[in-house]
Symmetry: C2
Subunit: 256 residues, 2 copies
């Protein structure tokens, strides 16, 4: 042994080597994992931009490569954060509206992915990456168990406090009226002015036409539609549109 050279037990050195190796592996795993996911995340976030702005137009299913992205988005913090900011924007506008007090100041809400969440159904169906199955979705609807979207429930209650009459305008069929009312009450929504569902005479109409016609009828009755909330552009666009419309996030499906 050279003079001045200190020695330590090899076991201690071995322990240190293992610790270093583990740390290096963690660093590599994190950066490697991130590199692998970055391409899909970048593309899919842009895809999400294109659907939320309606630039994409009609689309039938979530691209296969984006199923994971949509899952992360919907089940992580971002979906809730986006929903909260829309509710804030909506409330800020609602507070600026002069309520006449004649019961004619209205806010229109869609139901699915606007007031209540069908995420549990979509979790079992590829988060929108699978073709829509009406039968299984109707079975889910019949359970009447979709929970409230919390930011929407808060907004709903605040609007009622401010004096808005709430009209619910959904693409669900009239035959689902009972289970829809049951689900709304289960989720905490009460005292809506009217619940409008598709009747047989509305069959085959594109959603944007059906919803525009219904809003137009409300206007003919003398109602003033100040705000409209929906996760689909077809909830908001067309004719007889609200003074302000609020697009809620939904990268899972598109209804024309």
């Amino acid at each position: 042994m050279a003079s001045g050279q200190y020695l330590v037990p090899a076991s201690l050195f071995l322990l240190c080597l293992v610790s270093t190796a583990v740390s290096h592996s963690i660093i590599q795993l994190v950066s490697g994992d991130r590199k692998i996911r970055i391409d899909d995340d970048l593309y899919c976030d842009s895809w999400r931009f294109s659907v939320e702005t309606n630039d994409a137009g009609y689309w039938s299913t979530v691209p296969a490569r984006c199923e994971r992205f949509v899952q992360d988005y919907m089940t992580g913090e971002r979906y809730l954060s986006d929903s909260e900011i829309v509710a804030e924007d909506s409330l800020a506008f609602a507070k600026s509206v002069e309520i006449a007090g004649d019961g004619r100041d209205v806010w229109v809400f869609d139901i699915d992915e606007t007031l209540v969440s069908n995420l549990a159904y979509y979790e079992a169906h590829g988060f929108g990456s699978e073709a829509f199955e009406e039968t299984t979705f109707n079975s889910w609807v019949d359970l009447a168990e979709a929970p409230a979207l919390a930011p929407s429930l808060s907004l709903y209650k605040e609007l009622q406090q401010l004096g808005f009459k709430i009209f619910l305008l959904t693409g669900r069929d009239e035959k689902h009226r009972n289970v829809t009312e049951k689900n709304l009450i289960y989720a905490g929504f009460t005292n809506w002015e009217r619940l409008i569902l598709r009747r047989p005479s509305d069959e085959g109409k594109p959603a944007i036409v059906y919803k525009s016609e219904k809003r137009s009828e409300l206007e003919d009755e003398g109602y003033r539609i100040h705000g409209s909330s929906g996760d689909q552009w077809s909830d908001l666009l067309g004719f007889a549109v609200a003074t302000r419309s609020f697009k809620l996030p939904n990268p899972m499906y598109y209804i024309s």
Copy 2:
């Protein structure tokens, strides 16, 4: 020394300890740094959602806490990726249009942040977190050096190939016609059918009104406006709207 106990030089052990400490620090630094930024990133990405969907309505400046987010978005990969997907959506629609061949099939483009990029100006002005200064912006415009947004330049050329007439409709004033033409040519844009700028008679009109009026005048001339591209909702909405409108990304500023 106990029998069977091996020994290594302390210097080697010391080297291993340092290496482990550095690895641990890297892991902590990365996760710590990410934790600090996560709150702002989450909020700012939701703020971005609210402005790109127009849920936010009018806004004057980027929130201070989001300046860094907007900088990262604009100078990183995401802005380009989002711009590319919008160009793809636009081209897919354009290819579905039946061009009559009478020279009346039109695509309308805005200019700033749609055909050319003023990012260099905004980099020096807080990426939109500072109040807009007309004087310094006009000085930038006079340089006529704004580069093309590459995806828009590709789309522009493809549309011309398909037989669309290109109309440029900008909120810039008529006094900037020469420098605007010079900038467009510098950036690679050629053979537009018409360049429309604000005239004195358009002064004071909200952008959404000015642009709707100009599109309406084109329709009166017999033009069919199939597509409209703009980074502002006021480029796209109002009346005499295009068959399909394409919202380009812009989290830096909002024009009513």
